[in-house]
């Protein structure tokens, strides 16, 4: 009984101490992404690499049409501009020749969309069994064995990047296809929620390698599968707590800080922005705006 009460006061003390020293303090890492939309060609290599690395099942046309697919990362293609009035007619091309017979005068914009690993994730407080929580690495962990499939987290995710195993998808690996499965992470069963884990198994492998070589994790040790295969190097993964890391420089160059719902940049023309920042979910994927030759 003493440890029961002891832990209460210890928990309270830690939390209150955390408050005095200015917010969250017990993070060991703060892993984040930068995606340069100007470099992204929309070639979908990242999504297929994610299929290969994370044992994602292929669900077939009918289930894909019923929107029960399991792509942790999807590359979205837009022809319109965010500030364009939404009901400017169907599929308008760009600014000048938006008349009926006019054709696209510019290419599309591509947007790789995956779990944003929000620091104030709306999916974490609503999970009844605590299957999703915020790790000390700053990642939004999804514990497959603990998930009972209430699916509240997916409803609460504004990005819709949580995918549910509506079926037992084991028929997507007929023999000998199942030999390709990556043993470093599980094959999820029916009834479990899953999402981009920022290649947790690769992070773990890099940390073990560093520990075995007796050195600290340095920037660039960890490469997510999508970052590794992106032909134009549009995706950058790193630890924001490590000031010297490449990703910290990019976030600082674009004057984007964590923990706010509105950035006050001295130079508003900088390209970095976060999606749905106004929802105060504090996402950790910094997108760099695509450049448009007017």
């Amino acid at each position: 009984m003493p440890s029961l009460l002891g832990n209460i006061f210890k928990g309270w003390a830690d939390y209150s101490k955390g408050n005095e020293e200015g917010g969250h303090h017990d993070y060991e890492h703060m892993y984040a992404l930068v995606i340069d939309l100007d470099r992204c060609t929309g070639c979908n290599a990242c999504s297929t690499a994610c299929y290969a690395e994370n044992n994602l099942p292929v669900v077939g046309e009918d289930k894909f049409g019923a929107r029960q697919a399991m792509h942790w990362m999807r590359v979205e293609r837009y022809f319109d501009e965010p500030d364009m009035d939404p009901d400017m007619g169907p599929d308008t091309s760009n600014i000048e020749d938006a008349n009926e017979t006019g054709t696209q005068s510019r290419g599309a914009s591509f947007l790789p969309m995956m779990c944003q690993h929000c620091n104030a994730a709306p999916c974490e407080p609503v999970c009844p069994v605590g299957a999703t929580y915020h790790t000390v690495d700053g990642l939004n962990a999804q514990v497959y064995n603990r998930c009972i499939g209430s699916r509240y987290c997916a409803n609460n995710c504004p990005f819709r990047v949580r995918y549910f195993n509506f079926y037992d998808n084991s028929e997507s690996w007929p023999a000998p296809m199942e030999q390709q499965l990556n043993p470093d992470l599980s094959v999820r069963s029916k009834g479990v929620m899953e999402k981009c884990s920022m290649c947790l198994q690769r992070t773990r492998a890099a940390r073990d390698t560093a520990k075995r070589e007796g050195r600290e994790l340095k920037d660039g040790d960890i490469q997510t599968a999508c970052q590794q295969t992106c032909p134009t190097s549009a995706i950058l993964f790193g630890d924001l707590l490590d000031e010297a890391s490449a990703i910290s420089k990019v976030w600082k160059n674009h004057q984007v800080k964590l923990g706010t719902y509105k950035q006050d940049k001295e130079n508003p023309e900088l390209r970095g922005y976060r999606i749905f920042e106004e929802l105060n979910v504090d996402t950790k994927v910094l997108y760099l705006e695509r450049v448009r030759e007017v």
Binding site: K63, A66, R67, Q68, A69, R74, E76, M113, P122, P125, V126, C127, P128, V129, G130, Y133, R146, C147, I148, G149, S150, R151, Y152, A154, N155, N156, P158, F159, R160, R162, Y163, F164, N165, F166, Y167, D168, S189, K190, G191, V192, M193, F276, L279, V281
Partner: protein
């Protein structure tokens, strides 16, 4: 009693005022109610067959979903919730009428509730038992549903107490326990009556259930306090339960859900759909069990008026929510509101608005309130409106939301329809069993009501009895003999 009164739906005379005929013999009350528990007639078996059939469809659908997974329920990445949750909220809503009728009206001494609170309280318990099914079957891994309960796990794992779903679990178990106890405690005197008149297995059952009730004044006194205490505890509980159920939505950040007026809106909706259900069951029980003497027209009148009042409260809260979204600057919420009114779900939305807000005005007409058939269908459609309302809260928001990638219109799969239909079968089964095993009208309460009504006709009875406690000696005035009982007036049909 004149023959005219025995016809169940004879049009009533104008001067019908009495809630109940106070000269009814108490033995007849016992006899009538006990007769309703005898071996069932053909109509009962037909109803039971339909209920069991619906329930078996639900079982088949659940087994199918257990084996193949949630996909056949046509849920998808945008619509993770659909009919399961909206029907869960509907059944929880149905359960609050019992509390309203038996607890709140008890506190305000509206004794016209006495003949009808028993079946309302039973409806509370059974709609809770029906609602309890849905949080379990909508889980992806049903076999781990017990992880929601805070048991001491050796792996040091606890549920996440921040989640509104856990609040649901706590609230519904607390509410189910207390409403079952409230129903049971309120029934103990009746069970004693059944015990004295039953034979065979029923006698053993009622003897055991009535906990040795002997009608002593000490038992009655403690009973009165207990009933009052639980009623006082049950009212805030009922309000908190449906507020927590609404927090499943209002605690999320989805447009159309993240609305601060949801708790009162849901509670009003709950009381509203509960009262509509009371009217429906009132008419059914009165017709099938010939309870004309207890479930009288004035009582039905009062329930209809109560329903209308709550309907207007609900309509107000509904329109307040729409107005706050309309004048607010939250673009996604406004999109959801406009899509509700003009999008793919608009027929159901407008059906909800009609059945929910326009139809209750039918309750204002005395003709409808007196006409059993019309009132039955009006009350059924009120509940259809309320079911649609829950559906129109869940699905349109999920069909839009923040990210355009999630925009998707979804229609429930056959598994969902089977479950929803089956749940009515399950509720019907429970209610039919209850009606045959337990008295569906509270005999001792009706006696009290009759006794109370009889006494107030004679104002001076109180003076006779107003000996103040604490004075050991005899009271001030002489104890007159009992006043002559008046000749029975023409009481008109009941």
């Amino acid at each position: 009693m004149s023959a005219q009164q025995n016809l169940p739906h004879k049009h009533l005379t104008q001067d019908q005022v009495k809630d109940i005929d106070e000269n009814i013999e108490w033995a007849k009350i016992n006899a009538d109610v006990l007769r309703s528990m005898e071996n069932p007639r053909r109509g009962y078996w037909v109803a039971m067959f339909i209920s069991v059939a619906l329930f078996s469809i639900m079982i088949y659908a659940e087994v199918h979903q257990y084996i193949y997974g949630m996909g056949d329920a046509a849920l998808n990445t945008s619509h993770m919730w659909d009919l399961y949750i909206s029907t869960f909220v509907f059944w929880i809503g149905m359960s609050h009428s019992g509390t309203l009728l038996s607890a709140i009206l008890h506190l305000v001494h509206a004794d016209w509730r006495k003949p009808i609170y028993r079946f309302a309280e039973a409806m509370t318990t059974f709609s809770l038992l029906t609602a309890g099914i849905f949080p379990v079957i909508h889980l992806g891994r049903v076999w781990n549903f017990y992880w929601v309960m805070p048991y001491m796990s050796d792996r040091g794992l606890w549920p996440n107490f921040r989640s509104p779903l856990i609040w649901d679990a706590f609230a519904i178990t607390a509410y189910l326990t207390s409403s079952v106890l409230f129903l049971y405690i309120g029934m103990i005197p009746d069970l004693a009556i059944c015990r004295d008149n039953a034979k065979g297995w029923r006698k053993k059952l009622y003897t055991w259930l009535s906990l040795g009730w002997r009608g002593d004044d000490a038992q009655w006194r403690n009973f009165r306090f207990t009933y009052l205490m639980i009623a006082c505890l049950l009212i805030p509980l009922a309000v908190s339960v449906h507020s927590i159920v609404s927090m499943d939505f209002s605690m999320s950040i989805m447009p159309g859900w993240h609305v601060t007026t949801f708790p009162p809106y849901f509670v009003a909706g709950a009381l509203y759909s509960g009262c509509a259900a009371i009217i429906t069951l009132f008419i059914l029980l009165r017709y099938f069990f010939k309870f004309e003497h207890f479930m009288t027209m004035p009582i039905l009148d009062k329930v209809c008026k109560l329903t209308f009042v709550i309907a207007m409260v609900w309509t107000y809260l509904n329109l307040v929510e729409f107005a706050s979204v309309w004048y607010g600057h939250d673009i996604p919420s406004k999109e959801v509101l406009l899509a509700k009114a003009s999008g793919p779900y608009s027929p159901f939305f407008w059906a909800m608005m009609f059945f929910g807000s326009v139809l209750p005005f039918a309750l204002l007409s005395q003709w409808i309130r007196r006409n059993m058939y019309v009132l039955f269908f009006v009350s059924v459609f009120l509940n259809v409106g309320m079911w649609l309302e829950r559906w129109m809260i869940v699905t349109p928001t999920l069909s839009l939301g923040y990210h355009p990638q999630a925009f998707n219109v979804m229609w429930p799969g056959w598994v969902e329809w089977a479950m929803v239909g089956g749940s009515f079968g399950w509720f019907g089964m429970l209610f039919l069993v209850f009606v045959k095993v337990f008295p569906s009208v509270s005999m001792y309460e009706v006696k009290e009501m009759v006794y109370h009504r009889k006494r107030t006709v004679y104002e001076d009875v109180d003076e006779m009895m107003n000996l103040h406690s604490g004075v050991p000696g005899p009271g001030p005035g002489p104890l007159p003999g009992s006043p002559p009982t008046p000749a029975p007036q023409s009481t008109g049909g009941i």
